[in-house]
């Protein structure tokens, strides 16, 4: 592996507190090393004078792989017309698709923007083997997946019984059996309630059969995540997503962090695509933004982190979520195409193509909510901009979304094209917060790395970190991003140079080499005595619930292209 020395760039590395200083970054054997260890005769020297050097970007929530993504591809052939780009072997494979692109375009487009780690946030356990097959084929980026546990019958049984230790052990087993990274709750309990009673549930409503509430599920999962000492504690998609007035549910969900037994001061709950659960008002026609209330609650509660799910207007999107009851409702609003699927025992999913319109009242409110939350909370370490690709917007539009955060002018220019009466009812235009490039580096690099617990070797440029580096052609001394936001968008859309794992993979926005990243998963240890009890439970439950054998359920490490196991020592007692 070659040695690379990046000279004279303006380095933004929030984890090490470097804010735009001119520094040299040295890369050797896929790791960042001290510049003195580089043999200058052999090293490739990159002159990054007048350019921004950042760690590789990290996307904490983007639906890039799994059965429902594939279902989207099947359902939307029209998404692929006029988007084909032939291969250029051996450098690049063929690309196609817009909202649900093929695996190659996903990897390449992320790399072109300087992203090097992306997390697939929802995979049903029984189909996670498929998710890994797809993740294996996504080039350029490192990957991880979150496993769905929101309506898992075994987990619900254990919660209803109140066996905390066994629940933690079961979740630990599930994570290592499916080779996933963290727990994801999607509309907790709703899929179970939908199967039985044909309706979703709010946070304090009883789930039929089990006689527990979604609040119990979230609390017990939180506790289990604390016991297991998971690096990313709990990823929650709140109940009542997409319904007017649901911001109250979101606030209640945030409150749960106060009821649990924490083991550390680290964030205990991550509320994802909060825009979709920040609606005030009692119907679509009286919809208002609940952004301010959520922002206030977030400021007051240090154990909660958010990501936005920012809506991008005027672009087609494909909503895909494990919140099957909501997709059923959405289908009746759009009345075009719809697919729902249910896996045995565990989870469900739905898909509906959607287009957010600039002139629409509702869509404009949605657009404003995400930005309001980010701008009012004003804490880039805890509020992470995402578009919940491809639900609210495409990951390709991240630079545009970031431009709204760094530039008030960009927001005002864009606001000229949206629905005026909706805009008047939001506080967006009165907010004058503008994030700096340093904040952008936090939001897209440092904070997600910290949140995923990967900040030892991801999301920073200190010695020992993985050599994932993005260089953007933007001179922060000359360009004022808040005024010249278009330059910012251009620079971030096409990275000038991207280094993945010590190799140059993108030059001036074009892929020059196809590489394949790693897949991270956790393996929490379970004490021996509990292990025996768990094995008995699994044998019994698999016989009772599943159509497949326990051995067929396990995904082996050899099925992952390049697996990285993160062993965890837990606090579960035997």
């Amino acid at each position: 592996m070659s040695e690379i020395l990046i000279k004279n760039g303006f380095v933004y590395d929030p984890i090490n507190g470097i804010n735009g200083d001119v520094l040299d970054i040295a890369v050797k054997n896929g790791k960042i090393v001290d510049p003195s260890q580089i043999d200058l005769d052999r090293a490739l020297v990159v002159d990054a004078r007048g350019k921004v050097v950042m760690p590789g970007g990290i996307d904490i929530h983007s639906h890039i792989a799994g059965p429902k993504v594939n279902l989207g591809r099947l359902m939307r052939p029209e998404d692929h017309y006029l988007t084909n780009r032939p291969h250029d072997l051996p450098t690049r494979r063929a690309e196609t698709g817009l909202t649900v692109p093929n695996v190659f375009r996903i990897g390449y487009d992320y790399a072109r923007m300087g992203y090097t780690l992306v997390v697939e946030p929802a995979t049903p356990p029984i189909k996670t083997r498929h998710t890994h097959e797809e993740l294996n084929d996504i080039p350029m980026i490192d990957k991880a997946a979150f496993v769905l546990v929101d309506s898992n019958w075994i987990a619900l049984d254990l919660i209803a019984e109140g066996s905390r230790e066994l629940l933690a052990a079961f979740l630990a087993w599930l994570l290592s059996a499916t080779k996933t990274y963290a727990l994801k709750l999607v509309d907790p309990g709703s899929d179970a309630a939908w199967v039985v009673a044909g309706r979703g549930v709010d946070i304090d409503e009883q789930i039929p059969v089990y006689n527990i509430t979604p609040r119990d599920i979230i609390r017990e999962m939180c506790n289990a995540a604390q016991m297991l000492n998971l690096p990313h504690k709990l990823h929650v998609h709140c109940n009542r997503l997409g319904y007017p007035g649901n911001y109250l549910t979101t606030l209640k969900t945030m409150e749960i962090t106060k009821d649990i037994s924490r083991v550390s001061e680290a964030p205990a709950l991550h509320i994802t695509h909060v825009q979709f659960t920040g609606y005030k008002g009692d119907s679509w026609s009286t919809l208002e933004s609940g952004g301010e209330d959520i922002a206030k609650a977030t400021k007051a509660n240090p154990y909660v982190t958010l990501d936005l799910g920012q809506v991008i207007l005027g672009r087609s999107a494909t909503t895909m979520t494990a919140d099957a009851p909501f997709e059923y409702v959405l289908y009746h609003l759009t009345r075009w195409k719809w697919a729902n699927a249910d896996t045995e025992v565990e989870a469900a999913a739905g898909l509906v193509p959607f287009k957010y319109r600039k002139r629409s009242y509702v869509n404009t409110v949605q657009w404003a909510i995400g930005l309001e939350i980010a701008l009012i909370v004003r804490d880039p370490w805890r509020v992470i901009p995402t578009t919940d690709h491809p639900n609210a917007g495409l990951f390709k539009d991240y630079p545009i979304m970031l431009s709204w955060l760094v530039s008030r002018r960009a927001r005002e220019e864009y606001a000229k094209k949206v629905n005026r009466s909706a805009l008047k009812r939001t506080a967006l235009l009165s907010l004058d917060t503008e994030f700096s490039l340093y904040d952008v580096a936090i939001m897209t690099r440092a904070a997600p790395a910290k949140l995923l617990g990967l900040d030892k070797f991801k999301g920073h440029l200190g010695v020992g970190a993985d050599a994932d580096i993005a260089i953007y052609d933007l001179n922060p001394r000359e360009v004022d991003v808040s005024r010249d936001y278009e330059r910012f968008v251009d620079a971030f859309r096409r990275a000038w140079l991207v280094i993945k794992n010590g190799e140059i993979v993108v030059k001036e926005g074009e892929v020059v080499k196809t590489v394949y990243g790693r897949t991270y998963y956790v393996d929490p240890e379970i004490p021996g005595e509990l292990k025996k009890e768990l094995e008995d439970l699994l044998k019994r439950k698999f016989k009772e619930y599943y159509s497949i054998a326990l051995d067929s359920f396990l995904t082996g490490e050899h099925e992952l292209r390049s697996a990285v196991k993160i062993p965890l020592s837990t606090r579960v007692r035997g």
Partner: protein
């Protein structure tokens, strides 16, 4: 009005599909013959020049108005695709067979195919006329897979003297398709408007998923969907000057999509199938 005629002879019989989307009056207009020889044509996905595949004869310079350009394919081939793509004026004559997507997204002018054509004739066309002397493949005047109903043909006329394949008028919004012979299954599927007239027989389930427009079947029909309800008997109908002087039964549907499309089925040719419906309309012989 004089017209400049360019005749194209295929040099050899093509073995792979040829993308002839650049061979249109709009591209020819105002260009010299030497420039025309260099027009890009794709042969099996590879770029090549028009003169590699065709011998071209015609005046030294094409008139600047595409409406005065006539392009004649002296030899046809079922490998020639995208003939008349997005053309707005002028005339194309194919003295033989044509391939897929003849007149795709056409905006005006006329195309005459003296042989048969393959799938997607006049798909997504806006205006103009297409006449095919032989038969056509599936989805005449259709939309592409996955698109919304109404994304198909938006205007103009397609006349087919032979037979048509399945899903004629798939997702069309306006315009007329006239098929002199018979048609396959699902005539007028997902239609939003416009008319499809099949003078001969048709296959199963005409009008499936239609929410507007008109489908006329002048011959036998394979089966009618249960989501259509029989409305009335009409003694004769005329569509755009074509008079069909025999009794038709009018169905309205497809109620599955809340549609109000009109489906006319010839009564005399389908007595076995329709006599029960007739008794329902006339209120006779219904046993509860």
């Amino acid at each position: 009005m004089s017209s400049a005629v360019f005749s194209l002879h295929l040099r050899v019989k093509p073995a792979v599909l040829i993308d002839a989307r650049n061979i249109t009056p709009d591209r020819f207009a105002g260009r010299e013959l030497s420039e025309l020889r260099n027009i890009v044509v794709l042969e099996g996905g590879r770029k090549t020049r028009l003169s590699e595949l065709f011998d071209i004869d015609g005046p030294e310079k094409a008139p600047s108005d595409p409406g005065q350009v006539t392009i004649v394919f002296e030899t046809g081939s079922d490998k020639l695709c995208f003939i008349g793509y997005r053309m707005s004026k002028g005339r194309i004559v194919v003295k033989g067979d044509a391939g897929h997507l003849v007149g795709y997204r056409m905006r005006g002018g006329s195309i005459v195919v003296e042989g048969s054509a393959r799938d997607y004739v006049g798909a997504k066309m806006r205006d103009g006329t297409i006449e095919v002397y032989g038969s056509v493949g599936h989805r005449v005047g259709g939309k592409l897979p996955g698109e919304k109903p109404g994304k198909g043909m938006k205007g103009g006329t397609i006349a087919v003297r032979g037979n048509a394949g399945s899903e004629a008028g798939f997702g069309m919004e306006r315009g007329v398709i006239i098929i002199e012979g018979s048609a396959g299954n699902l005539v007028g599927a997902d239609m939003l408007g416009g008319s499809v007239v099949v003078k001969g027989d048709c296959g199963l389930y005409p009008g499936a998923g239609m929410s507007g427009g008109r489908v006329v079947v002048g011959g036998r029909v394979g089966a009618i969907l249960p989501s259509f309800y029989a409305d009335s008997m009409v003694p004769s109908i005329s569509v755009r000057g074509i008079k069909l002087d025999k009794p038709f039964m009018l169905f309205i549907g497809d109620v599955v999509v809340g549609g109000k499309g009109l489906l006319y089925v010839s009564y005399d040719d389908n007595r076995e199938l329709l006599s029960y419906y007739k008794s329902l309309i006339e209120g006779e012989g219904v046993e509860v």
